[in-house]
């Protein structure tokens, strides 16, 4: 796994090129910032999680059912991931709490030895279920699998993640779509704050069950003053980390950037910042620029299963005829095992004949690519040249930026 602590030590001695990077010492808590870019808000840090340290900025692959789709744990370790996501909603339904209790948590059930962050299930309840009803107490919903009825409360969501033994826990929040009224957004913020307070209490009352850290989630839809209100209320709870929810849900890219930049202004420097649902190079680069430390997204693995791969200059859809005779690797400059061995022509063939190896190899490459990207981002920040790195990357990157393709 890629703990990268040797890098951190090296950098404490100076970055060697005279740039005005701030190197920050020590700190015993969950998180410490180890380098701060002088021109942007970009920073490097280390998360001290129960299953080992994690360098930030970090991309976290999504393991919905306790496994990253089309990967096996061995491959994630090979790439260097030491923090993955699990979806509480899915795991709560299958295999369910009884099974996870029997196995004493997600780590021993799944065999994953690194860290696991689990979301609250809120986003899935709002996006996947055929029926839901929010009350002050919690949210009732029907399962998208068998229609069975369930009731999630902030307390239950924390309790469930304690059973999981999650290294980072997320509180139940109210997710709202782009385009709702101010009043609806205001009510959602109110309830999110109330639920966060109840979640904190439940988390503090279950410290003996696991060593995980509870983050707060800032909501507020696309209303700048509600973002400020939510940030202030959530930060008052003084949880170990803070997440930004409800962005990148279908809004124009410019709106995303404005609201992100606006929200980050209220976040304290010393806590890790997690922007939920981000996972393409252009979004990651912008988010890092705004001082974001953690991201997750199903997009890189989902497009891989459909035959689309990241390259240095953009994305390629392998099923296109143009690649039938291509002897090139997916990305000639990539050092991953897929690019060292397999041609675009062969990978295209695997997709055309429907072989599992196609999704497996493309998922491996896309995850390697993103892990490599955050590694390079960290190096650039520590070398005091993040803005240049970002500019150079985006200058060669063909992106549908103002044409949000994330959802």
């Amino acid at each position: 796994m890629d703990s990268g602590l040797s890098d951190v030590k090296f950098l404490k001695n100076g970055n060697g090129n005279g740039a005005l990077v701030t190197m920050i010492e020590g700190g015993e808590g969950l998180f410490r910032v180890v380098a701060q870019d002088p021109e942007s808000k970009a920073r490097c840090g280390v998360l001290n999680l129960p299953h080992g340290p994690v360098e930030t900025p970090v991309f976290m692959p999504v393991g919905t059912h306790g496994t990253v789709k089309a990967m096996i744990h061995e491959e994630l370790e090979e790439i260097g991931f030491s923090l993955i996501l699990g979806n509480t909603y899915h795991l709560y339904l299958r295999p369910g709490i009884q099974v996870l209790q029997h196995f004493k948590g997600l780590h021993s059930f799944t065999g994953w030895r690194g860290n696991i962050l689990t979301d609250s299930g809120g986003f899935q309840v709002f996006s996947l279920t055929p029926f839901r009803k929010i009350t002050k107490e919690g949210v009732r919903f029907r399962s998208h699998i068998d229609g069975s009825s369930h009731f999630l409360t902030p307390e239950l969501v924390v309790e469930v993640q304690r059973v999981f033994g999650s290294d980072v826990l997320m509180p139940l929040d109210v997710c709202t779509p782009f385009g709702i009224t101010y009043k609806e957004a205001w009510e959602a913020v109110e309830l999110t704050t109330e639920w966060a307070a109840r979640s904190k209490k439940a988390w503090e009352g279950t410290m003996e069950k696991s060593r995980g850290f509870l983050f707060g989630i800032v909501q507020g839809n696309f209303f700048p003053d509600l973002r400020e209100k939510s940030a202030e209320e959530i930060l008052q709870l003084d949880l170990p980390g803070v997440a930004i929810g409800g962005l990148s849900v279908g809004e124009p890219f410019e709106t995303f950037l404005e609201l992100l930049s606006h929200t980050v202004r209220f976040l304290p420097r010393e806590k890790p910042r997690y922007l939920m649902g981000i996972g393409t190079p252009e979004f990651i680069l912008e988010a890092v620029d705004q001082g974001i430390d953690m991201f997750d997204c199903v997009f890189p693995t989902r497009i891989a299963r459909n035959g689309t791969a990241f390259t240095r200059t953009g994305r390629i859809a392998l099923k296109r005829e143009a690649f039938i005779y291509s002897e090139e690797p997916l990305e000639p400059s990539c050092a991953c095992k897929v690019c060292q061995r397999y041609s675009r022509g062969y990978l295209r063939h695997l997709f055309k004949v429907g072989e599992i190896a196609g999704p497996v190899l493309l998922t491996y490459h896309n995850l390697y690519y993103l892990n490599q990207l955050v590694k390079e981002i960290r190096s650039a920040i520590r070398a005091g040249r993040y803005p240049t790195f970002k500019k150079e990357f985006l200058s060669r990157w063909a992106s549908p930026l103002y044409n949000n393709q994330l959802f």
Copy 2:
């Protein structure tokens, strides 16, 4: 990869336990027998193939489209396979000859560095296509994919496998089902012999194109005298190896054993013997007992994708409720990476939620298991205790032997 040549050298010095194993020296051709069990026809050998030596008895995983289903090449190498199968019928249709010509063969197209045996396509033409018509010249058929019309001749089939750069080539033969008349079976043998002679000529005329070895295929359906006739005619061609086709196609297990034993009597000791379409422990053990050196079958990988795994005592269907809480590995005595890390309960979960990792991990285990079985078979033969090994294995193995479940 598991070339195992050190084992062979060691055994030339004697087997150390006084058993009457015959150890055979040298030989510069394709194949040499290195140990012969004293009580059965079981033997160990080495195939000297263009992409490295292969110890026999050997199980060959099937890579229909130039990839073993649910595996990547790295995993096959990890397990120790150095000889896999490709299906000429499928590869001829997709990606097609033009693509494989452009890539200069299957090895460079697929990135597989070990040996490849390709079948003739005959079996698929007879079992998969919606339409076929046999003439003396060859076989016309419609593709099961797009209905397009194709005409395979013995010469074209050799030519195609030369384009593949196959390490072992198989000639076009006439495959017949269980239950046909003597006359039909006789005609199929006649044509198979004629086609084998034409294949040999085509193979000899294309020696400059690749270094692959052409095998003959003995047919004869379930008529003992036709098996003898076919064996005599095919062996007269003096090809480097000999295969037995048309067995294990739905006949009772006893019939399979009788015909196998009968056919082997006509095969010379010095040529490698390949029994097509065999791949469960009980069939492998019986075939080795009859002096068979090579086997292939889609069964172990196909059942893996459906959630069934080999254990020491038989097969388990993981989707059964009984495994929900099982913390045991698939097979406690198995050293594979799947059994070292994952529980039956977790693997069951992966199948229940439809994750790709389920088929991937079970395929890995089943292939590891069979490779381990043939390794143990080789050790037993060299130690002069093959009949005991077979008896012990089958005494604990729950098998539906007389209830053919292979097809």
